[in-house]
């Protein structure tokens, strides 16, 4: 008996027992709908979130901070923690000890021009901006206002904040962007006012006093000492009966006071052309969970990286930037780039852990839903197996006749297995078709739900029916149903034809 004939007979048997077949197929359909929707839903959400992540500037941005050369060998004694300590706590304590040792024994990495250049040349580093703290006075015509100065980011999100004019492009060191609020303070409010501002020249006066000491002096309310005051103070110290150590201490303090306070702060004034007006970032401009390193959108003046860096480095006592903001060209390279930056001795802060966490959580959801669907399919399989056992009992005489006429045991076995497989195949196909229909209606609801959860527009398709997933559903359904048919098939194949024909 050929396989084709057995298959045709199996199909005919299913077709001729419509109600039984329908109930069996219905069980498989329900299980397959759950399985297909789960796979498509998980894949759809996963891909959408990845698309969201990959297209997000928030995720590509990461912070770079000064740290300690990691290649310095820390002696084991410095990391000694009492034996018997909980391993996790021991690890945490050792990290602290390593940090302390490095601080006192190792050289701190700097973010000077040299290091910034090296960092900027790392593979996949799309943009690198030192995190400066310049401030100055902005003058437009007769109006002037105090203004904070930042580097204009070159990413899409920043460009999207342009209100009027053009965005500042790399190399345009004579151009500036003004913040909407700064323009308002200068008297430019309406759209027309703002448009008038575009192309006009503004002057920016920048105090070159060390940014970190100046605010401290200001905060303490200390008036800078004049040369005469210093001379009087020195004479008073000389005349006092201070001990040598005390005198040395005061000498050092005075030396510092002279360098930071006696010199009149230099001021640099640059004239620049307004290219555009930008607004401040709103919450919905970014994905909040990934926005660890924020772009300085709230500044008053934005300059090119080169111009702002040059001005920052002219400040009194400038040695190094405190931090920098890096931007990787593709999220997929974030981990690699962050590792390379860390290897150069810098501390980093990125969304990598969040992205990994999202992946992990999606994996857990996928696993849980997959397990649930398989469970449903197994319950269906038990039902199918039960129905097929009953079917064999009902068809004992039929199998007896087939065997009496010369059917091999194997043919009867394959016949029943094929009936199971066909049930699974039809159930899977109908289940997939049903899932496609259901997804069409539920997609919008799911999109709304995800948008609410992410607090970000989510208009991508929630369900993604990948051919591989559909093939998997068909394979699982056919496999489970065939397995469910094994026992009934075995019973049918082993029937004694004489007894079977007696019924």
């Amino acid at each position: 008996m050929s396989f084709r004939d057995i298959a045709a007979m199996a199909w005919h048997n299913l077709w001729s027992r419509k109600l039984r077949t329908f109930l069996n197929v219905l069980g498989v359909v329900m299980a397959c709908v759950v399985l297909t929707m789960m796979l498509a839903g998980t894949r759809g959400v996963e891909e959408s979130i990845h698309r969201l992540i990959e297209g997000s500037d928030d995720v590509r941005r990461f912070g770079i901070y000064r740290s300690y050369k990691p290649n310095t060998e820390v002696p084991e004694e410095a990391l000694r923690v009492e034996e018997g300590t909980d391993p996790e706590r021991r690890k945490r304590l050792q990290e602290h000890l390593r940090d302390v040792w490095l601080r006192t024994h190792s050289q701190r990495t700097q973010l000077t021009e040299v290091e910034l250049k090296a960092l900027a040349e790392l593979p996949h580093m799309e943009e690198l901006r030192p995190d400066g703290r310049l401030s100055g006075t902005l003058v437009a015509g007769n109006a002037k206002t105090n203004a904070s100065i930042r580097i204009a980011p070159l990413n899409r999100a920043a460009r999207a904040r342009l209100v009027v004019g053009d965005y500042l492009e790399k190399g345009d060191d004579e151009g500036v962007l003004l913040g909407e609020y700064a323009a308002f303070r200068l008297g430019y409010t309406s759209d027309e006012d703002l448009r008038r501002l575009i192309g006009t020249e503004v002057s920016v006066s920048i105090s070159l006093r060390n940014a970190r000491i100046s605010p401290l002096i200001a905060m303490l309310g200390i008036q800078p000492l004049t040369e005469a005051s210093l001379a009087r103070f020195r004479n008073a110290v000389d005349a006092s009966k201070l001990q040598a150590v005390e005198r040395a201490f005061l000498d050092a303090v005075m030396a510092k006071a002279i360098t930071t306070s006696t010199n009149q702060p230099k001021t640099l004034t640059v004239t620049m052309t307004v290219r555009g007006i930008v607004r401040e970032a709103k919450e919905e401009d970014s994905i909040s969970i990934f926005n660890l390193i924020r772009d300085p959108s709230g500044a008053d003046i934005f300059m090119t990286n080169a111009r702002a860096t040059e001005l920052e480095m002219q400040q009194e006592g400038f040695t190094s930037f405190y931090a920098a903001i890096g931007m990787v060209d593709d999220v997929r390279h974030l981990g690699t780039l962050v590792d390379e930056v860390a290897a150069l001795g810098f501390r980093t802060r990125s969304s990598r852990a969040t992205v990994d966490k999202v992946d992990t959580e999606l994996g857990k959801v996928r696993l849980a839903l997959g397990g649930l669907s398989l469970l449903i399919l197994c319950v269906s399989a038990l039902g199918i197996s039960n129905t097929m056992v009953v079917s064999v009992l009902e068809r004992v005489r039929e199998f007896g006749v087939l065997k009496a006429l010369g059917a091999q045991d194997g043919s009867v076995l394959v016949l029943m297995l094929l009936e199971g497989a066909f049930t699974g195949l039809v159930g899977a196909l109908v289940g997939i078709a049903t899932s496609l229909g259901v997804s069409h209606f539920t997609s919008a609801l799911a999109q709304q739900y995800i948008s609410d959860r992410l607090r970000h527009d989510f208009d991508a398709s929630v369900f993604r029916f990948a051919p591989a997933d559909l093939l998997l559903v068909i394979t699982i359904a056919v496999g489970v149903c065939t397995v469910a048919a094994i026992l009934p098939a075995w019973r049918a194949a082993r029937l004694d034809p004489i007894a079977a024909m007696r019924g």
């Binding site: 008996m1 005489r397 006429l405 010369g406 059917a407």
Partner: protein, 231 residues
């Protein structure tokens, strides 16, 4: 030359300590094309003999050769092949597949032999035509009378041209008119395919009409044969 040869054939059922001897040292043979009627009372061993000859059961001991095959030594697979190639069986209760058409039922032996669909369809239609049921080819057994069902069973028994046809009370479930017609048909087609016929019945009159030789069974033993004039 014998197409069927049973020598010292035994078939016991139940435990070895207390066996039920359905066949006890039976001697039996049939020549090629011969028509034999096997008669006897219920429990005499007729059906056991038929089951052994049909390859549906195996003897406890003895020799059983049918169509040149030593049945006790055949594997299950070879025995199944023997059933679908060398013999045709007409059962008392027709034993048709309930959800298949008359044509599909007749096709079954040819399908089990692995014959291609077109050829077996032609042969099955011819067989149905021979038993006068070509117009009922698409009908299922439930849509046919008992006589028609048995004619389908006859067509199925001869469609593959077996060398031995076994008929187990073929008219037992039919009214007298249908029984006569079916028996006449069996004899005609058996003659046409030149097969040997073993008719199992307890109707001596039918045996006398259908067979050239009468073999009686009693308590599992075969009694000496009684030969009829060929009609």
């Amino acid at each position: 030359m014998s197409i069927v040869m049973a020598n010292d054939l035994c078939k016991h059922y139940g435990s070895s300590e207390n066996p039920v001897k359905a066949l006890s040292h039976a001697q039996f043979s049939m020549a090629k094309g011969e028509r034999v009627a096997l008669v006897g009372r219920s429990g005499s061993g007729k059906t056991t003999m038929l089951n052994l000859l049909a390859g549906l059961d195996r003897p406890t001991s003895g020799v059983l050769r049918v169509a040149g095959k030593d049945l006790p030594t055949l594997s299950s697979r070879a025995l199944a092949q023997y059933r679908c190639r060398d013999i045709g069986v007409v059962f008392q209760s027709f034993q048709l597949l309930p959800n298949r058409s008359a044509l599909a039922n007749v096709e079954v032996p040819l399908m089990l032999q692995g014959m291609d669909a077109t050829t077996r369809r032609q042969r099955a239609l011819a067989a149905l035509d021979r038993v006068g049921l070509s117009e009922r080819a698409a009908h299922q057994p439930a849509q046919m009378s008992g006589g028609e069902q048995q004619r389908v069973a006859v067509a199925r028994a001869v469609v593959h041209r077996p060398s031995v046809i076994l008929a187990d009370e073929p008219t037992g479930n039919l009214d007298s008119q249908s029984a006569e017609a079916v028996m006449a048909l069996i004899l005609e087609v058996v003659k046409e395919v030149s097969a040997a016929l073993l008719l199992i019945t307890h109707d001596h009159a039918l045996a006398r009409v259908a067979a050239t030789r009468l073999v009686t069974m009693s308590d599992g033993c075969v009694k000496p044969a009684q030969r009829y004039h060929v009609t």
